[in-house]
């Protein structure tokens, strides 16, 4: 089963990566000649042309493309003009911070949303339910930058409990993870509530009640697992969105993630970095989809891989 899923993953990944690399090449080609920006102001036109020739930019598009693909396949991802080093390490260096923030945000979201959703479903149309709905709307309505700044003011400036910028320790992770996590928690809680209510209305729940087993078992074992698929889907989409970088939160907390790097690369036309970042994000997205498929199968045995 795992092998078949893995086989399908590879079959999926190869064409996707190829198409993405093609799109990246076209984008770079269309942005024009990078040498104009890169040569010193006192360089002559002859100097520039030498650079163009050295980088092969005077070749026709298909030749440039073949060389680009050849380099990619050999693992040569090009030089970062801005950092003056190989582009791949520049991007990979940022990856752990992004992964950490993503994971932290999801843990916060799940820890808040799942219990909240369950309580709202079980106490349907009571003040508890309304309170959860209200909080969900609020969490969506408050912009990230504002929540981040408020958290900084309260926990960093006033209480002096947590560091407010940078990365490096678990304490650094808390505020940005809470900022992002609470933003997702609202939607997730509403989804958990709706799917759980749907599951609780099914025939097999009536069977479970007829068995005389405790209510907690009925909800947590019989209903919640059947309600989990939509929540897993939503969480995986959120993870994919966050892997592309959480620019605003990263900026507010000076978190050294991919988002900041990519935006900076765009400003400086650091094409090699942009290319690598896009390819890395593509690979991560494929991986998350693969893991999501495995989770589906784990939750529901009727789903075949």
């Amino acid at each position: 089963m795992i092998l078949r899923a893995l086989g399908r993953f590879v079959l999926q990944a190869v064409p996707v990566l190829y198409i993405v690399s093609l799109i990246v090449f076209v984008l770079v080609y269309l942005t024009g000649d990078p040498t104009v920006m890169l040569i010193p102001e006192d360089a002559t036109e002859a100097d520039r042309l030498r650079l163009v020739a050295a980088w092969g930019l005077d070749q026709p598009a298909h030749v440039q493309y073949l060389r680009y693909m050849g380099n990619l396949l050999r693992g040569d991802f090009g030089q970062s003009y801005y950092y003056g080093t190989s582009a791949l390490p520049v991007v990979l260096e940022r990856l752990p911070a992004t992964l950490l923030l993503t994971a932290g945000a999801m843990v916060v979201a799940i820890v808040i949303a799942v219990p909240a959703g369950i309580f709202a479903a079980l106490r349907r149309n009571t003040p508890v339910d309304f309170a959860v709905s209200g909080m969900a709307v609020l969490s969506k309505a408050m912009p990230n930058f504002w929540v981040g700044i408020m958290l900084i003011l309260i926990f960093g400036v006033q209480l002096r409990l947590l560091p407010v910028s940078g990365a490096g320790s678990f304490a650094h992770l808390i505020l940005p993870a809470v900022t992002l996590g609470t933003a997702f928690a609202g939607d997730l809680a509403k989804l958990v509530r709706a799917s759980l209510l749907e599951a609780l209305g099914q025939d097999y729940i009536r069977t479970a009640r007829a068995k005389g087993i405790p209510s907690s078992v009925i909800v947590l074992k019989h209903a919640l697992r059947n309600a989990a698929i939509p929540a897993v889907t939503m969480t995986s989409l959120n993870v994919i969105a966050l892997l592309g970088g959480a620019l605003i939160t990263e900026t507010v907390f000076a978190w050294p993630g991919l988002g900041q790097l990519v935006v900076q690369a765009i400003y400086t036309k650091d094409m090699a970095v942009i290319q690598i970042a896009i390819l890395v994000i593509t690979v991560m997205t494929l991986l998350i989809n693969f893991i999501t498929d495995l989770l589906y199968r784990l939750i529901d045995p009727r789903i075949r891989l």
Binding site: R209, A210, H222, R302
Partner: protein
Amino acid sequence: MTGPVLRYRNAGIEIGGRSLVRGVDLEVHRNEIVALVGESGSGKTLTALSTLGLLPPTARFTADEAVLNGHDLRGLRTEGDWRALRGSDVGIVFQEPLSSLNPVLTIGDQIGEVLRYKRGMPRRQRRTEAADLLARMHLARPAELLDEYPHQLSGGMRQRVMLAIAMAGEPSLLVADEPTTALDNSVQAQVLELIVETAEQTGVGVLFITHDLSVVAQVADRVAVMRGGEILESAPVGRLFKAPEDDYTRRLIRLAPKVPAVMRDASLAQPAPPAPKPLLELRGITKRYSAGWRGQGTLALDNVSLMVNEGETLGLVGESGSGKSSLARIVTGLARPDSGTALFDGRDLFASTDNSDLQMVFQDPFSSLNPRMRIGDSIVEPLRARGMRRGALRDRAADLLETVGLRSAMFDRLPHELSGGQRQRVGIARALSVKPRLLICDEPVSALDVSVQADILALLERLRAEFRLTTIFIAHGLDSIYSVSDRVAVMQKGRVVEEGPRDAVFGAPQHDYTRRLLGAILDSDPDNSRFRRREETL
């Protein structure tokens, strides 16, 4: 124990101020099967659910006496109160085994949790006991089944698993709510036998809810007939069938499925009417539904050849998955065959674009009508598509409504305002609107109550003569096939295994599968029960 396991006196159920069940007196003793018979809306299922406290939250249960296994049910209010009784004092088997089992938990888990919470068994013992329960339900390889999921099992196996779950807590009362209605005929007999055997071996009292009097005749010791929330009549099964006191009971008994006499005495067979000429000729129809990439798919129709003569009714029988409906879809052009030819009145059916000569009546009159469309519009929609003008359409709809026994004033009604029988009449009117020559009825009565079934079958019979229709009548119920067909074709796993004049097929079946199907017909005569040996206590 001597007293009854369940005793209701003057029990009533109200929902939202409406009294749905009134004055019900009921007793079930150990090792006794009490059938509660009635049509939809009779209150039989509500009565059954009340013994487990599974009524909807808005329902109010009242009774002068309601005792289950020594516990007074009237004092139970919360889920917690009921939890102590459910599973250990009363178990239940529902109608639809697939949706009643949790799709994401293993069979072993679903049985095991009853053993854990009701009998306090440790984990290892639970596994052996669960396997033992499955074995007692005559399921093969019980130990392996423990790790399987409901979707991997057949319908009959699922219902056996449901029964194992219900019996796992060693209850005194087993409630069986239409336990075989969703199953094929041959499987139905096996499950009924198992329920009877379970009652005899464990001494559990059974409250058996059903609409089918042939099932009652086969399994019950005593019968209570319900209608409109009241028990009309209650008697030992033999007396009820021989000397029914209520008119309604008499009508139900008259309409109940019976084994055709020709099956007992083949010499009673009548010769088939002469066939003038074939109207529809199918040759080598094959259809495979693919299961996606690398999947083998399922062979729904395997080289089917079939002939329908002008003016006759061909009964098409087979169990679920035998390909009956696939064939109907192909003949009406709703699906394309992979190979094969079809001639309709001499011309190539698959090449023609206008198939209005062939119309279909569907099984489920609820879902086959657009809920937002007035029924008059539904009926004449095929005519509008053909460009008939508005005024003419309305007249035609009124005509059609009256033809099928509805008032023309029903034109402006919406489907939800109609009863099941009325909706099926609308479905028939729609099929007739384009004046077809061949009518294909796909299980046209199996979603309806017994007494309504009889009316619809009579209507179809009348229309057949009036419109000189040729009919293909698809059903899994052999008694309705017998009552309407001139010729019968038996399908199994996508093939026609037997075809012939009705009395030849019923009286002298040639194929093993036909014999098995016929053998599964239940007789509405308690003296012919093959499951229950009973001492009649009149």
